[in-house]
Chain length 340, copies 4
């Protein structure tokens, strides 16, 4: 049994790690930290875990956590993870960072987040479907929720070299904004509504661009996010404009299917779907992908659906853990979502 | 044209007063106050009023407001209205207070809200269907949202002397909790949920008890509120236990109907309905009422539906204004809700 | 007072026409038809109109309706309106058709809807912001809901000649799918979900293309609709790719603002907004529009918000009626939406 | 490994059985029937199970199912289960019936459902917290969703002999109404709404009355259900009027707590909670219970929260299966809900 630590466990991703680990056959949460809530029952915040999890929040040092744990998840805000990660690694723990501190090259990180990186370390971008080297990593930069949906939707096309530009129009549940009440998450402001925000400059763009460019060289990437009246899930509508000389390919549905099937043939959590919907992936680690070409035109629409807290955060983190620790990739994650 | 002032206009009831007044044929908002937002456009908060309302928030004295206005609505928190009302009245304005400061006898108010009343004045409880003396009042204590739904549902039965006890189980939209984000109004905490709160001791109980007792002498009143995933509306399910000797009456549907029809024969905003629902009263000043007796038993279930911000607050306040100022009771309020 | 007829009044657009007309100062619904429901109270379907509307559904001939009415709205399915319109016109009524039968040239209509047009007549495309000739028309083809949002969002740019291609990613409330329950509108299938449908070939595309091309010559138009968990409203996110030689213009916010302000300077229902949202236009006839350019790139994102049943259908129809009949364009429509 | 059959698998309870069994360590669904869908993939209906469940719907005889299965769940409409159950039992299967056919004495069943019972068999009422004899049963009548919430909320008080009357005001998610679209489940009719239905005579009343009377002799039971804008979950607000001579007990919070804790000391799925909410039990088999006495009065309010499809149906059925087959009561069910 692996002993697991969670740094910063009072938010949604921390709670979701606990939920998922509570059913994991080979890993167990043994330490969960929160400076603010140290000494309190974990279930004082994550009430749905009553009867299942009897841990209390603690406030230990990184070294103490590393000593007690085989793997540590850092679920703290960006800019804070970098204060934990080096000490955890140096004390022998493997680390999966759910913040954005280890997803990007330092210069891109600093430009995007407007802060200086105080503790660069070598890390693997933890999207296992694209990065088999996850298995050998000691530090994972777990991808952002939007990039997970956007990259999985289009990586096969990027690798096939057919993308001229990709415009991602994403629709997210509000849990991505976190556990703290805000004007945006105020029920009367979101119910029966939809809000476009950070219309052209969301911080997740560089992750998407980095991964698609790695596969395809120069790809023009745009991204516009919205929040919808839903708690969990991200639906990404990728409007892919294909290169002029490749326009014929997308008109051949079987050919496009084959590109996806081949790319994901060893990816247990990617499912091709007629109509990807949040309801089919809710609370699960699946990513559903579907597509349709505009007849006679150069536009291919690809749609992906994930649960932002699972495949978009904590589930993917555990998938990475499984691979890093030599477990079955699906251990503790092989269950369907909770439809209806 | 009446000139109207609104003290405390940055919240939902203030916004709703502006919305309703913008269509009123004989009254116009000319002054809206907010200390915090003085100088800012009203539409910086109430964005839906852009193009319709070009007022700015002001921070005048009560005397200044009274000088400019015929009628003033006080839409400030309980305990604050009493700092405005006397000066407004003394300066010649008629006042409709949407807080709880002028709804109850002083001793009941002080016991219920735990504060000393600093400025008692004679006021009429502004439920026009029960209080024709509204027409002659200078100061109205506009009823709470829950009491409006509960009292209208059962007043005819109280007057008919058949209630032994009434248990009100109410379900409210979250706008009743106000414009400020909170844990309760956080979308992930309310969507797909329902929350029972202040289970046995909500502060609105004394208003309900006061009005029913006025009609019927001693009536046993209990009240339990819930918030549901809806923005507007209160559905009240009144479980009425009838006096043993009156049990036969409720088994006669026509007899009960007649009790209601007679009681409300001059009440334009009360509609008898098969199935009262929030969707039928949303954004309107109507109160829909329906009922069903448990066959062979002593329980009559009465259901009422109102929009908490209209008939439960700002609409009722304008209805009171109409009556106080000798206008048609329905002026500016005679429109249907916005279904679907 | 104008006498108004509504052909096919049992659906949402029929109900919305009645709601809006009930507050119109110079027009009154006098006849509403439904073969299926003839003889029944209008309020048996449109329950929110109880107390406001005491009409019964009728089943008259077109000639009978025309005789009694000055203006007739046809709110029947596409392919059915054409069976009513000629007789209504020939009997002297002015007609506003809310179906798609009179929005497109015949050949485009037939290709798009797969049916033969049995009764072509000259009609004006009823988007008054673009078509002042509405004022002189006898027959209006009232635009589709999606086209209204998409065209208003981008028409000023089209006229300015800067659009290379426009990709419309629209998110609609489910009321657009009508009053009849279906798998898509089944609550468990829509709540906490979002569904992309008719991904590349929705029937509204030709309307959008027709109007933008009229302004700009050849514009590449794509459209992908979604339904979101909301009843009313359409948010359209227009990803506009600008012509290479015009890329500089969109980087100048003031210049783009001016293009919009000039284009809509006489359009009372178009409001420029920082963040267009459904909540600000709900139940109103406003169209809110905002935009943001991607820094240094050739993409301008324009967002529009309308209420699909008002500006996207019945409200726009009444706006057309006002213009056709020489009334103030805003008569009966000058009220804010129902936020929160 | 137990082989499991599901008769009538195209609805929500069938899908939920498959979801839960897919994670059960000692049971596996091997046969799922649907006459209408025979030959089709189970995932054509239950899309969220893609990749997890590769069964096809079948249309076998009861005998064939019984031959292949150790335990059979009948998830068909009331009145239909009785056509399957005898043959299944006679062929050696243990049967858990999720319909209402085997929950009540025949005369009560026939009076309540208005049909003749064609195949009475001895059955145990499958609420394991009250019926340890489940462990020895061959046929279980799995309780209704509302009765599960109502009975668990009040059984300890009934046994303690303190209930004079209990008025259950329940609020259910719409999934209880099934997978077929209807007027009630039409999104525009439920969103932002709440609907009271079968106000005094819902068919679940006899189950509640039967179980409470079994514990307490004569208890006056009333029940009024509502549907709220939620997919899963039932919150039951039980207004318990206590016997005059027991009124003191409920004023002693510790005493009431003790009554509950003792009654449920061996019930793993019952959790006492400050504020029971749907969000804490969603997708799980837990029943959360909280209470508050009205100070100085004879009313105790008890609130219970369950997931109607899990503890209210399929989860409870599997809990029964576990007990019948000598497995750990929590096997395959020991996981938290999916909050947020």
């Amino acid at each position: 049994m692996l002993d697991i630590g969670i740094i910063g466990g009072s938010g949604y991703t921390g709670g979701e790690l606990l939920r998922l680990l509570s059913c994991h056959p080979e890993a167990e949460a043994v330490c969960i930290t929160s400076r603010k809530l140290a000494g309190k029952d974990v279930t004082s915040v994550h009430q749905h875990l009553r009867g299942i999890c009897d841990l209390k929040f603690e406030s230990p040092t990184a070294e103490e956590v590393a000593e007690r744990c085989d793997v540590v998840f850092t679920a703290v805000p960006h800019g804070t993870a970098m204060d934990w990660v080096p000490a955890l690694l140096d004390s022998g723990a493997k680390v999966i960072d759910l913040s954005s501190d280890y997803r990007l090259p330092i210069d891109v990180f600093e430009r995007t987040y407007g802060i200086t990186h105080r503790a660069p370390r070598e890390a693997v971008f933890g999207l296992p479907e694209l990065h088999p080297e996850v298995a050998k990593a000691n530090l994972i930069g777990n991808p952002g929720c939007y990039p997970t949906g956007a990259i999985l939707a289009t990586a096969p096309l990027a690798k096939a070299g057919i993308i001229e530009r990709a415009i991602f129009d994403s629709k997210s549940g509000i849990s991505g904004a976190g556990i703290e009440p805000s004007e945006t998450s105020h029920y009367p402001n979101l119910a029966e509504n939809i809000r476009c925000y950070k219309i052209t400059n969301h911080r997740h763009v560089p992750e998407i661009r980095q991964e698609l460019s790695r596969l395809a060289g120069n790809v023009k990437v745009s991204f516009t996010p919205h929040v919808i009246p839903a708690v969990r899930g991200i639906l990404t509508t990728a409007h892919v404009i294909v290169k002029e000389e490749k326009a014929d390919i997308i008109q051949d549905r079987a050919a496009v299917s084959q590109i996806y099937e081949k790319f994901y043939e060893k990816a247990p959590f990617v499912r091709m779907a007629q109509v990807p919907m949040l309801s089919n992936v809710r609370c699960s680690n699946f990513c559903d992908i579907g597509f349709e070409a505009e007849r006679g035109e150069d536009r291919l629409v690809v749609i992906s659906a994930i649960d932002n807290l699972v495949k978009g955060a904590s589930g993917q983190a555990i998938q990475n853990m499984n691979l890093m620790m030599g477990l079955d990739e699906t251990a503790g994650l092989w269950f369907p979502g909770g439809a209806p």
